[in-house]
Symmetry: C2
Subunit: 311 residues, 2 copies
């Protein structure tokens, strides 16, 4: 394993992941933290970052490259959106250097869709896509599921269009803060093996226009058909919303979609794709983030990161 050449950070809304990496992209050490963008003021970011770097004993000369919400207008320093169509390899050239920081810190921009279809934005996913395109040659339709799922069309490493589906956020609101909450049994976890998940997924794909009524069935079914049905209602809610997401993206049987995700969410979406007849190619979100940040680091600090390769 080499020495630490740079630090890669995926800094999201609710948490961050930080990796100390060698020049070949090997992980030397890592930290996951809860201090996401939404919990921080601009002046807080540097202290949170340096606290992690100190804990990992990382020298002040080691540079840091960040993707995600740290570059939002309400983040650390704004890295303005790059407009579509965007060649993924060029994204790091739009990185912003944090002014007056103790070390060299660069924040990668997000992408904005202004003209090609519905207005939309992403921050963070573009770096995973960069990793997927360079490392795995990904093209075609890519799905990055989550609070705000992104569905992205890539052609020859150019992002030509994308759409955001509020699936995860609406699931959380309905499961925890709505009149359906009473019928959602914890723990949630992987609900996709429950037959109610598959049934609901198919119902939503077949009749997406009825979603406002289908959702109420999560409440009405236990009331009308008996409380024994309550145990299935979390799986039903999940299946309805993921089915609606798939329907909205115009996916159908036989389509191939690259799925960039991890953990339970990856399992749920892989199962959903399977039920919908879509062939998923699963890639690890963490690995793709590191691959994208490695590419960015090599572009930003060519001397430092290519030195080892030359010797």
């Amino acid at each position: 394993m080499g020495e630490i050449a740079f630090v890669a950070v995926d800094w999201g809304t609710t948490s961050f992941r930080l990796w100390a990496m060698d020049a070949d992209g090997g992980v030397i050490s890592e930290r996951h933290g809860e201090r996401g963008m939404s919990t921080l003021k601009p002046v807080d970011f540097e202290a949170v970052l340096e606290e992690s770097l100190t804990a990992l004993k990382i020298h002040a000369k080691v540079p840091v490259v960040i993707c995600g919400m740290a570059g939002a207008a309400q983040g650390w320093v704004e890295a303005p959106y790059v407009d579509l169509p965007t060649r993924l390899e060029t994204i790091p050239t739009y990185a912003i250097q944090v002014p007056l920081a103790r070390r060299d810190v660069r924040i990668l921009p997000g992408l904005a869709q202004r003209d090609a279809g519905m207005p939309d934005v992403m921050r963070g996913e573009e770096t995973l896509l960069l990793g997927a395109a360079l490392e795995k040659g990904v093209s075609g339709m890519v799905c990055l599921p989550g609070t705000h799922s992104k569905w992205v069309r890539i052609e020859a490493s150019i992002v030509t269009g994308f759409a955001t589906s509020m699936t995860g956020e609406i699931f959380d609101l309905l499961a925890h803060k709505s009149t359906l909450a009473h019928f959602i049994c914890a723990p949630l976890g992987n609900l996709s093996d429950n037959p109610a998940f598959a049934d609901a997924l198919k119902e939503a794909i077949h009749s997406p226009e009825k979603i406002l009524q289908l959702l109420f069935s999560v409440r009405a079914t236990p009331l009308v058909m008996g409380a024994k049905n309550a145990a299935n209602m979390a799986a039903r809610l999940s299946g309805l919303l993921i089915g609606l997401e798939i329907a909205g993206m115009g996916q159908s049987t036989g389509d191939q979609v690259t799925l960039i995700s991890g953990g339970v969410l990856a399992q749920i979406y892989a199962r959903a794709f399977d039920i919908a007849g879509i062939e998923p190619r699963l890639l690890s979100a963490d690995e793709m983030a590191r691959a994208g940040l490695l590419h960015a680091a090599r572009l930003l600090w060519p001397e430092q990161l290519n030195r080892k390769h030359d010797t």
Copy 2:
């Protein structure tokens, strides 16, 4: 104006409306209160009711008929659902008398759909429908918009099927508790005159399967197209969800729908129907509630309520 013959109460989840009425259905006095079912334990209902009756100086011999959530399992006394198909005039025969109450109090049941389509329930709306069928001869499709909008098919005063759309609840969750909330400018009020309402309504009717993506545009549009668009986003959110509701109910240009509602909500839905090419026949929700409760009272206490007619 006659003397007080009975008291009519529409007791919902978040509030109640109470009318002291004469035997002809004339309103002698009224009270609106905030103590809806969700704020009360079973033992609290009688005190809340008697407080209003005392304030209106109503004698203990005057009976009370109630519709709505007071009859839910978690309400005052459960009035079990009556199954479809249901002849509206027969609903009062299933009323429950509150045991050990200081006065004669009856609670009307709701309706349940067990076999005819998706499981569904209503409580309170059936009494408005009873009023509409008897007083105005309503048949065909009826829409009662709200937190949980009800769309009901009536044929010859028989309820043959209905569906619930979570439109109002999902609007409130997204407008106040989601990542869209930042882009929703108060005050809400009647948003339907904003052209963004009409555009969004048509988009949702045209592409209901894309709703999870259309909803995210409420956030992405101001970010991408400039903050001046933020003022329209509440209207856009409202239009998207009501458009989806209309699409889900299979309504299209030229259809006639009876709209039972009141206040700002009646204006918004009448405008939405107009944009969608649906002809609304607007009836007052309060008037229909009183008409339904009057019919119930006449069935429940024939001597007391028909005495005046006989003389």
